[in-house]
């Protein structure tokens, strides 16, 4: 393992050695099937979905199920010592440029495969119940399959252009799926907002790709990483390229300032939120940073990572605050997602790469659980708002139990999943601050600690308002069908155990996934005892506060009446960010620009089109005349000649045998004469 120059930044305890490669595995070679199967299922459902009795969901679930099993087999192969695989196939070649269609399968990709296919499978099963009477059921499944295929393509592609294809693919599917109930204007507006906001980030992303290409001469990720590590490409240009790439990550993973689309995206069906906006698409940004980590790490000694850290710190805090004041349960979860994504970025930023990715894994599991559980609650209560809920633990026991598991994980309570991953990140930030390896580490640390507290607070608030107290809604809620609760149980069980993969010191996750130069640490008092106690203690205090404020309604005070009341209004308007974007960006584009474009379209473009049409018509009529006069004359003339000559020749066939005989004998005579005398 190279990269010695950077090791000085880390105080070494010991280098992490990965899984030893002992063999070539069977399954990693087959991993190209995994994105292919959902793509095929997309096409199948698109064209034939309505003709199936079950409207095509069995095709989707089958494809994803097989893809999941393959992913699992491939990952197990990798973990037990199989070789990583790189395949590529040149698609188009110019002198200076080679576009390939390539697949890179290693631990990061393998892990992402498992996560994506697993969550996608559960969501598809869940949707058979949730979306049961939907009129666009087949299209929903088709879009889900296409999304899964795009996401899988994104994480396995070995070059930036193909990754961009997957990136755009998931963006477009997100648009389709958020706008699934497009009959209501707010829903289609939310879809457009999501698409355009991420698009703005994508502009940066594309420029980042171009910059890297100019620097490195290739789109291939492995090569770019090597060049960055060796220092062959460096300097401010690399930093700028990395920051541009990060723009894309900001857009796609809903970090400040492009986080505004994610809460509105909750207008889509809940399974969509669970899949796309919790576990898969939004982690594309994190995957990007992780995949191109050497670029981020080695550009000017890690400046991009500092920026990442700052943005993450800001995001996690503001999102957590906003989560505290939402009434819509899905919006709570949406802001929570933004906050947790910031945690993952923070992990990558402060040097605990492994912890960041581990948090991605655990978050995918418990956030999907929470979303699906929220969907179950919404399905029962027919409302998204927590003010219409309450006391549901009596009516929906299965949902309640699994939801609590997910919430505890989110809050970071030992021994659930979120505890281990979050703590690793906070610990990493602390260590980086103490060791001085990251300038912004203390900002990250402080923010992470406070956010952990607030996370516990809003989580407890959410649970209390939903499951405790008296039922405030209409009708009689009841537990959801098995197709909806079984994924909840599965995810609940997973949440309980997946945390142990990353148990400090002895957990096995770190052997799977690590950045060059990352170190594993021995058991240390500060990090492995004191810090967890602080965080869990903080969480418990938050629970207590929540209990008092929201359950007992004691110790409450009207925040709005205090001198900090303006902060509440500020928060309610989401820091006026949405208004800023609307007035400052959208409206100036919409009115003048749109009008000018319209004029250009009518006069210029249409003029060209119409002129071309007239020209074509003239050419066509000329061709027609030529055809009539010349070509047809030739054809008719030939036919006429044949007719004429036939008319002459037919007289030979008189039907009179004796005439034939006369010809016969005359010919004989002549032949004999010729042969005899010539």
């Amino acid at each position: 393992m190279g990269g010695d120059g950077v090791n000085a930044l880390f105080l070494a305890a010991e280098q992490i050695e990965g899984v030893e490669v002992t063999r070539t595995g069977l399954f990693p070679d087959l991993m190209w099937l995994v994105p292919l199967l959902p793509a095929l299922s997309f096409i199948a459902i698109l064209f034939f979905g309505k003709k199936f009795p079950d409207k095509g969901h069995s095709v989707g679930i089958l494809a994803i199920g097989v893809a999941f099993l393959l992913s699992l087999a491939g990952f197990i192969d990798l973990v037990t010592g199989a070789q990583t695989v790189e395949k590529h196939w040149v698609w188009y070649e110019l002198e200076t440029l080679e576009l390939t269609f390539g697949m890179n399968y290693d631990f990061l990709t393998g892990l992402m495969f498992v996560v994506v296919t697993f969550i996608s499978l559960l969501v598809q099963i869940y949707s058979t119940g949730y979306m049961h009477d939907d009129e666009r059921y087949s299209w929903f499944y088709a879009a889900l399959s296409l999304f899964t295929a795009s996401m899988l393509l994104l994480v396995t592609s070995d070059n930036l252009i193909l990754m961009l294809v997957g990136w755009e693919g998931v963006g477009v599917c997100s648009y389709f799926l958020i706008g699934h109930y497009w009959e209501e204007k707010p829903n289609s507006s939310a879809a457009i907002k999501a698409f355009i906001t991420t698009r703005i980030g994508d502009v940066g992303f594309m420029f980042g790709i171009f910059a890297l290409f100019i620097l490195a001469g290739t789109f291939n990720i492995t090569e770019i990483n090597h060049l960055a590590e060796e220092g062959a490409i460096a300097g401010p240009s690399l930093t700028i390229a990395a920051l541009l790439l990060f723009c894309g990550a900001i857009g796609k993973s809903a970090q400040f300032p492009l986080h505004v689309w994610l809460p509105d995206a909750m207008a889509g069906p809940t399974p969509v939120s669970a899949l796309i906006h919790a576990a898969t698409m939004v982690v594309a940004g994190i995957y990007l940073v992780a995949r191109l980590f050497p670029v981020f790490e080695f550009a000017s000694g890690g400046v991009p990572l500092e920026v990442v850290g700052v943005i993450a710190a800001i995001t996690m805090l503001i999102a957590a605050f906003l989560a505290l004041i939402q009434d819509d349960i899905k919006r709570v979860l949406a802001y929570s997602t933004i906050s947790q994504l910031a945690y993952m970025f923070a992990g990558l930023a402060v040097g605990v790469f492994t912890a960041g990715i581990f948090h991605l894994l655990t978050h995918a599991v418990f956030k999907a659980l929470l979303f699906l559980g929220a969907g179950s609650v919404i399905h029962a209560v027919h409302s998204n708002n927590m003010s219409d809920m309450g006391g549901l633990r009596k009516y929906m026991p299965a949902t309640f139990k699994t939801y609590i598991i997910g919430s505890l994980a989110l809050a970071g309570i030992f021994p659930l999943a979120g505890f281990f991953s979050k703590d690793e990140i906070i610990g990493g930030a602390l260590r980086a601050g103490i060791d001085g390896t990251r300038a912004t580490a203390w900002i990250v640390f402080a923010s992470a600690l406070i956010t952990a507290f607030i996370t516990a607070l809003y989580t407890a608030r959410m649970c209390i308002k939903t499951f405790w107290g008296e039922y405030r809604g209409h009708g009689e809620p009841h537990e959801s069908p098995g197709s909806m609760t079984s994924p909840l149980w599965v995810l609940g069980g997973l949440t309980l155990v997946v945390g142990f993969l990353g148990f400090p010191v002895i957990g096995v996750f770190k052997y799977w996934l690590f950045a060059e130069g990352e170190v594993a640490h021995e058991f240390e008092l500060l990090y492995n005892v004191v810090l967890p106690v602080i965080t869990v203690g903080g969480a418990l205090i938050a629970f207590f506060l929540a209990y008092k404020w929201f359950y007992r309604n004691e110790w409450r005070f009207d925040f709005r009446k205090t001198s900090f009341g303006w902060m509440y209004g500020f928060a309610e308007r989401k820091y006026y960010l949405d208004d800023l974007y609307l007035g400052g960006v959208v409206k100036p584009i919409q009115y003048p620009l749109a009008a000018a474009t319209y004029w250009a379209n009518q006069h210029v473009i249409d003029g060209i089109v119409n002129g071309t049409a007239r020209g074509t018509i003239g050419a066509a009529s000329g061709t027609y005349r030529a055809d009539q006069g010349v070509v047809d004359f030739g054809v008719n003339g030939a036919a006429g000649l044949t007719n004429f000559s036939g008319g002459l020749l037919r007289y030979i066939q008189s039907g009179n045998v004796q005439r034939y005989a006369a010809v016969l004998f005359a010919s004989i005579a002549i032949f004999v004469a010729v042969f005899a005398f010539a």
Partner: protein, 101 residues
């Protein structure tokens, strides 16, 4: 006596037969002319057999065969003529021109 005399006789009869085949209108008369032609061939064969003396026996054998075949041919030919007559009430060959253009 030169054998050529007999050969000329045979050629003459053959040509007369050809004229009859081509010029006659009645189907049976055409068949008569065909018999004439076959006879001419027979004369040819027998003349050669006489020319060859002892070794000329095959000539006469062939002449016998020709006579037999001619008889067969006449039988079938007349059967056809009678059938045509039955169907078309006429044995005028000029009228038998269905294959006319």
């Amino acid at each position: 006596m030169p054998v050529a005399y007999f050969l000329v006789l045979s050629a003459l009869l053959f040509s007369i037969g050809v004229y009859g085949v081509l010029a006659r209108q009645h189907a049976v008369l055409v068949l008569l002319s065909v018999e004439l032609m076959l006879n001419a061939a027979n004369i040819n064969l027998v003349a050669f057999s006489a020319m060859l003396g002892e070794a000329g026996v095959p000539g006469q054998v062939f002449a016998l065969f020709v006579i037999a075949v001619a008889a067969a041919e006449v039988g079938v030919g007349l059967a056809i003529v009678i059938l045509i007559y039955r169907n078309r009430r006429s044995v005028d060959i000029d009228e038998m021109s269905l294959m006319k253009w």
